[in-house]
Subunit: 287 residues, 2 copies
DNA sequence: TCTGGTTACGTTCCACGTAAACATG
DNA sequence: CATGTTTACGTGGAACGTAACCAGA
């Protein structure tokens, strides 16, 4: 099970084509065919059905493993290189959409570049060394850590915690309330935004079932999400400090006891700009 | 970064010798030397210092990644094979020492073999397919899942939860108390038994610092551990139902709110004895 | 000097590309 | 029939073993 073969397997499944995978990976059709054949004969199992190309049951199992495996492989390489050749260039940051508060933005002196990704994406980028530091946000019980995907030996440090609000469009029957419990909203329509404030995440952390998913927003832009929410497309949970556009009111979430938590994620950092920035970001501050 | 090379790298570090690693892996000295050289030149980094053989900083980083990586690789192969060729032989169980209660033992009709390992070991065996089902125990907040190492897509299901006691040797000043808080025992001497009731685990779950480690017991035999405890070698946290030998009294742990939790761990199971046994074990029961 | 890792070199085998054969919609 | 995967075959390179070399305790 050479990672090389896993890589092409993943690519073939993604593109649903041997030939397309071949051009992407810089091989010939034939080579890809042989690589898949090698994998199948190594495992003694058929992984793909051809024409149309689709994974078998065994192939699906392999696929589940292959991506994290390749990610960890990148993570290993990145960690080794970082340890051997400390970088003295400005740090690269990856942040999840609701993670960068104004206070944090004011501390980014050692940062050279910054970009946004979903929560798991940020962790993956840090692990693979494409970012030096990650700032991720999510829901958790007070003083509980976020449960992030395990992609290797990463340090996670609390940066901040704050209360939550439910963003309700003006005119919503509950918009006048002083506080809300999630249970009150089980039957309401929710906006599902994986990567910003995924419903699955809310359910898992709050141990509440039956938040009805309305529309799904695939993307990382909070403004777009809030515009949808203001137009009555569904409810969203946000940190209390979030600035809401006109048309939305934030009602404090009083139960279950949850907070919006921001954490810094990084690998073992040798001395340098990245480590300095990490230290600055985790110095205690308000919020 | 061929897994093959990672494997020999790990072996070389473990044995602290190229030649010993070579015989273990069935290579010549020379081949091992070349493999390590290949790894180092691929990464562009020195991984080992020779004579004596010891990992460099970069090598240590790689080592941290290599073992979980190889484990996941085994897990992937196991999952694929399981999906392709469902087994109809009796299930193989791996259990952590305090996980097998009498009630569970009574349900093991579909089981063909059973063996003990530390908590992480059980998870690893299940992931790698050396066991079909794992029964693991640990401390957790009530109705919280155990935090097990992430070695792939494994299902974990609650089997049981019960209260905790601190096992105190007769004559211990606190042995007469009706209940104890962990804070009362911060200064006491504790027995550290990684794999049964690791102190690190207690600290992490309870968020308590400063449980002083006395003696460390490396092993999986509860009786041995309790014999040490009875002899005053240190304190241990146990599930309330544990039968204590003479000389030990169990005092209920009243705070922080923690329970002894037992979970079933398994990979995606095709129909067969293993799946049936899993169903039987997770049918609700007392305790 | 002896133990143990490295380097040189020859052989084998594996992986890829080219091109022809083949299957399927 | 056309598109796209497999198979056949030849070549280059990678990986290993043997054996000579070299460095450190």
């Amino acid at each position: 099970m050479d990672p090389h073969l896993l890589r092409t397997f993943v690519c073939v499944v993604r593109t649903r084509s041997f030939s397309d995978a071949a051009v992407r990976l810089g091989y010939t059709q034939s080579a890809v065919s042989q690589q898949i054949a090698a994998l199948e004969s190594d495992l003694g199992v058929s992984l793909l059905r051809r024409r149309p190309v689709a994974p078998t049951e065994a192939g699906r199992r392999l696929l589940e493993h292959a991506e994290p495996l390749l990610l960890r492989l990148d993570a290993a390489r990145a960690d080794v290189l970082r340890a051997a050749r400390p970088s003295h260039r400005p740090a690269v940051l990856a942040v999840s959409p609701l993670a960068l508060t104004p206070r944090l933005a004011g501390l980014l002196d050692g940062a050279g570049a910054i970009h946004t990704a979903g929560r798991d994406g940020v962790v993956a980028e840090v692990a693979a060394g494409r970012a030096d530091l990650g700032v991720v946000d999510g829901l958790a019980a007070p003083s509980d850590p976020l449960d992030l995907p395990d992609v290797g030996p990463l340090a996670t440090v609390r940066i901040a915690e704050q209360d939550l609000v439910v963003a309700l469009p003006d005119g919503h029957p509950l918009a006048g309330r002083a506080g809300l419990r999630l249970g009150d909203l089980a039957d309401a329509l929710w906006l599902d935004a994986p990567g910003i404030a995924g419903l699955a995440h809310v359910r898992a952390v709050a141990r509440v079932d039956g938040l009805r998913p309305g529309m799904v927003y695939h993307g990382c832009d909070v403004r777009t999400l809030l515009t949808l929410a203001a137009a009555g497309r569904g409810l969203v949970v946000l940190p209390a400090s979030a600035e809401l556009p006109r048309g939305l009111t934030g009602v404090p979430l009083t139960g279950p006891r949850l907070v919006h938590r921001i954490e810094l994620v990084h690998a073992h950092l040798p001395p340098g700009p990245a480590r300095d920035l990490a230290a600055a970001l985790t110095r205690p501050g308000p919020g």
